[in-house]
């Protein structure tokens, strides 16, 4: 039978967007597999060290010996890694998806959806592990990895802070990826020079106006929750910047 290939019925906008989001999980190795494996390795490494310290001490010395791990940053890697995941995900799937006839708008919205999903998944994971950590009194040794002090003191606080932090790193990553897709290495270099200059500028401004005290006081006033909430502004800015940049980007061959 000979039939002229009919034009496809337009897929609904939501369908198009969720399809792009699914694309980021089609092979979950980069987005879901590797990060948990690395986190697992770090955890096992930490457990081993704690156990070495713990078993070298007499029972009365053990009390509070690992208290300092409350300030440890071993799970911080996962946040930085999410930034890397976002950069990789966008720079690799953008030219791929456009070949499939996806618009930049649908692509970006779909990726945004995927990143929020990632933030939810990782927040859930860290929350569960943090809860186990608290319940087992630091894995039986008083160690801290998943619920360090700066994620907040109660479970709801920790959930909020981790979620917001994940969002920040994912969207900051997607902004960097958009710069990369649009202007490649030159663009990213210029981007970091500008970000660096802004930071140095802020530091200089604070120093010259002698306002470090005020800054410190403000941060203490805001508390962990306040600071986390304010990061949402940066997250939103990154998200919008990523969209604006990617909207005019062209998939190029050069890697």
């Amino acid at each position: 039978m000979t039939t002229t290939t009919a034009l496809a019925q337009p897929a609904s906008p939501l369908k198009r967007i969720t399809n792009v989001a699914k694309l980021h999980f089609a092979n979950p190795w980069t987005t879901l597999g590797l990060p948990w494996i690395i986190l697992g390795v770090i955890f096992v490494g930490s457990l081993t060290i704690w156990w070495l310290i713990y078993s070298a001490l007499s029972p009365e010395q053990r009390e509070g010996a690992l208290e300092g791990t409350e300030f440890g940053g071993s799970s911080f890697f996962i946040f930085i890694y999410m930034m890397v995941v976002a950069i990789q995900a966008i720079s690799i799937t953008f030219p791929f998806a456009l070949g499939y006839g996806v618009t930049r708008r649908d692509y970006y919205l779909g990726s945004t959806l995927a990143f929020v999903a990632l933030a939810v998944i990782y927040t859930t994971g860290l929350t569960v592990l943090g809860a186990i950590e608290k319940a087992t009194d630091g894995w039986g040794m008083g160690g801290t990895m998943f619920a360090p002090i700066y994620f907040g003191e109660s479970a709801p606080e920790r959930i909020f802070v981790t979620f917001v932090l994940f969002l920040f790193f994912l969207f900051f990553g997607s902004a960097i990826a958009a710069v990369w897709v649009r202007w490649k290495a030159t663009g990213v270099t210029v981007f970091f020079i500008i970000v660096g200059a802004l930071l140095v500028g802020l530091i200089a401004l604070t120093t010259f106006t002698d306002s470090w005290g005020a800054v410190g006081a403000t941060l203490v006033d805001l508390g962990v929750l306040g600071v986390a909430a304010w990061s949402l502004v940066l997250t939103a800015m990154s998200g919008v910047a990523g969209f604006v940049l990617l909207r005019r980007a062209t998939p190029r061959n050069a890697a």
Partner: protein
């Protein structure tokens, strides 16, 4: 709807480089087009413009009656397979074939499976471990099985061996016969595809040089071979596209001949042979003959 693509005065500049320079043409529905030209002629840029991946400097493009840029309604009917198509590094071919149907409404899984077997593509190997040819076959399979009403193949078979290329041509023709659609194929291997093409667009230095029916184009030139004196006498003031000679023998390519001219040539003891599409295009892109540009 008769024309799938309408392009009017389309230009794309990169700084001072005119990648596409004031090009106008239309592409009829359900035909196989060849987009031919030398490296850097502007073929890829043109296809990127048509699929909304690149933004035009000036001019207009209409796909299925609408501008393609950021137009999901139009773009979801297109599939663009690039020579250098990059795939997510951790993907395996099976991930590509798992995701493709989400984006192509006409995707035919059975056809895809058959092509996978034809090309002997390993499904479980990571993309970065695949050979150049295997990578190309992924693109070819997606391009064919997607059955997008408008499919672009940009040099789809880098690294594919002759057998695999023949499979591609055969499957394309077969499937096209059952499911007519518009295909735009850009390639260097002009002779290999010349029987496939129904219409030829030749682009050189960003300008559209030839826009003709493949059949008409093939009849546009003839090789005249014979004794030098006889050949020279026959061609007279005729336009010569190409001239070759060894000793007393001469081979000259001339623009299309009428029936009576053919008889004259035979009477003069000259041999006439058709010019291959590839030869013709090489000669046409080399010659700066105004007539050919004008008629293009």
């Amino acid at each position: 709807m008769t024309s799938t693509i309408e392009v009017t005065n389309l230009s794309k500049h990169f700084g001072k480089v005119n990648a596409v320079n004031d090009v106008s043409f239309t592409v009829a529905e359900n035909k196989i087009y060849g987009l031919l030209g030398r490296n850097g002629a502007g073929k890829t840029t043109l296809m990127q413009l048509l699929t909304g991946q690149e933004f035009a400097s000036s001019g207009t493009i209409s796909l299925f009656g609408q501008p393609p840029v950021e137009n999901a309604k139009v773009l979801q009917n297109t599939c663009f397979i690039k020579e250098s198509q990059r795939y997510p590094e951790d993907f395996r071919p099976k991930d590509v074939f798992k995701t493709a149907p989400w984006f192509f409404a006409n995707w035919d899984q059975e056809f895809a499976d058959r092509l996978i077997a034809d090309f002997r593509l390993p499904l479980d190997r990571r993309i970065k471990k695949l050979s150049r040819g295997q990578l190309s076959s992924i693109g070819v399979i997606v391009g064919l099985a997607s059955r997008a009403p408008l499919t672009f193949f940009d040099e789809p078979y880098l690294g594919l061996d002759a057998v695999a290329r023949q499979i591609f041509y055969d499957r394309l023709l077969e499937d096209y016969a059952n499911h007519p659609r518009t295909v735009i194929l850009s390639t260097h291997l002009i002779d290999e595809v010349s029987n496939l093409l129904e219409h030829v667009l030749v682009i050189d230095e960003g300008k559209l040089l030839i826009n003709e029916d493949a059949e008409t184009l093939r009849n546009r030139a003839t090789n005249v071979v014979g004794m030098k004196t006889a050949v020279e006498a026959f061609i007279g003031n005729r336009e010569v596209l190409h001239r070759d000679g060894i000793g007393g023998l001469s081979s000259v390519t001339v623009a299309g001949l009428s029936e009576s001219e053919r008889r004259d040539a035979h009477a003069a003891g000259l041999e006439l042979s058709p010019v291959s599409l590839q030869q013709l295009i090489i000669q046409l892109t080399r010659t700066e003959t105004k007539e050919f540009e004008a008629s293009a």
